[in-house]
């Protein structure tokens, strides 16, 4: 997606809840405030929970893009430390 400049990617399709969020959380902690992470995830449970959890951690969810293979990419901007 050309809409956002992605600073880093993390793939959480190889893990299941609750590790999905843990993996995404570790990835976003590596970034600086204002940088953007793309989280590659499966549909269903991760889509239900990861965006909300990101918000609760103080990050800003920008977009959820649906891919043709049924996976999703969640675009998140890192919040204040």
């Amino acid at each position: 997606m050309a809409e956002y400049k992605i600073d880093d990617h993390v793939d959480i399709t190889d893990v299941v809840c609750p590790v999905t969020f843990v993996k995404a959380k570790i990835a976003i902690e590596e970034l600086e405030t204002g940088q953007i992470l793309s989280v590659h995830m499966n549909g269903g449970e991760p889509v239900q929970n990861v965006p909300r959890s990101m918000k609760e951690e103080g990050h800003k969810v920008l977009k959820l893009n649906k891919n043709d293979d049924g996976t999703f990419d969640l675009i998140v901007e890192k919040g204040e430390e």
């Binding site: 889509v47 929970n49 965006p51 909300r52 969810v61 920008l62 977009k63």
Partner: protein, 286 residues
């Protein structure tokens, strides 16, 4: 002296095949037992039973092999541990519930609080036949609401808040009934498709939905000799006054019309679905 088995059954003492032995059913609401209660149950099972309990299909606890002669001692020991005997026979049975929104991330309503209210109002009420209430917190239906004579399912009616929406697309992706769609940056909710599961508002990272909790009622469920899925009649109800008015009307319909030993569903069929619906709609409309 002749043993009054009906009175014992009413008081939760279920006659066993084994002579003079009873399986003692306890009162449990919504599958919730304190550590203190469990301790008392454990002591009674050890001292007066065979050292084990049976967990019933409806979240109850029974202590088998209680002897007729020990009944008073058993009741006293249980009372000291905050336990009360349950009921059997033609009356309102254990009110069951899932853990609901206080514990479960999917829950839309406080099921346990509602189960307690229902139990206080109806538990052990004598009726023409057994009568079961079950409360489930959401569309996942862990508590199988429609198996019950009256089932209550929690839901959330949502309304989109344009100002807060960041157009991330999470709600559209998460909606199982395709009630939520996005058109030119606007979220459109097709209320005819919405099943009030609340997944959109729970997943929303921007709190861009206004929530209104509600109760979806089903009537006449059977899951024994005959199987029938409880049916919804009126729309989701958002206040307890209306909820209890409709429930009271349904229970009263059963009390007034049922033959002895006739389950709620069969009464509805014999009297007529249309008449039952009329009664429920009348209560719904106040």
């Amino acid at each position: 002296m002749a043993v009054d088995y009906a009175a014992l059954k009413k008081g939760g003492f279920m006659r066993q095949k084994q002579k003079n032995c009873f399986s003692l059913r306890l009162k449990v609401v919504g599958g919730h037992l304190t550590a203190k209660q469990l301790g008392a149950i454990s002591d009674v099972a050890d001292k007066f039973g065979n050292g084990y309990v049976h967990l019933t299909s409806r979240q109850g606890v029974e202590i088998p092999f209680i002897k007729l002669d020990d009944i008073d001692k058993v009741k006293a020991a249980l009372a000291a541990g905050d336990c009360e005997p349950g009921v059997c026979g033609p009356r309102v049975r254990t009110v069951t519930s899932c853990q609901g929104k206080e514990i479960c991330p999917s829950g839309c309503i406080d099921t346990y609080a509602l189960a307690q209210e229902l139990s206080e109002r109806f538990f052990a009420k004598d009726l023409p036949h057994k009568f079961k209430f079950g409360v489930t917190g959401c569309q996942n239906n862990c508590l199988k609401a429609e198996e019950n004579d009256i089932g209550i399912k929690g839901g959330i009616k949502v309304k989109w808040i344009a100002d807060k929406c960041i157009n991330c697309g999470v709600c559209e992706s998460i909606c199982r009934t395709r009630a939520v769609t996005s058109e030119d940056g606007k979220i459109v909710l097709d209320e005819s498709k919405c099943n009030y599961c609340g997944r959109c508002t729970k997943a929303c990272p921007a709190d861009a939905w206004e929530n209104s909790e509600g109760y979806i009622l089903s009537f006449g469920g059977l899951f024994g000799n005959r199987i029938h899925k409880g049916e919804e009649i009126v729309p989701i109800i958002h206040d307890k006054t209306t909820l209890f008015r409709v429930i009271d009307a349904a229970v009263e319909f059963f009390e007034r019309n049922a033959n002895s030993g006739e389950r709620f569903r069969l009464t509805i069929e014999r009297i007529g679905e249309e008449e039952f619906k009329r009664v429920i709609w009348e209560a719904y409309n106040g």
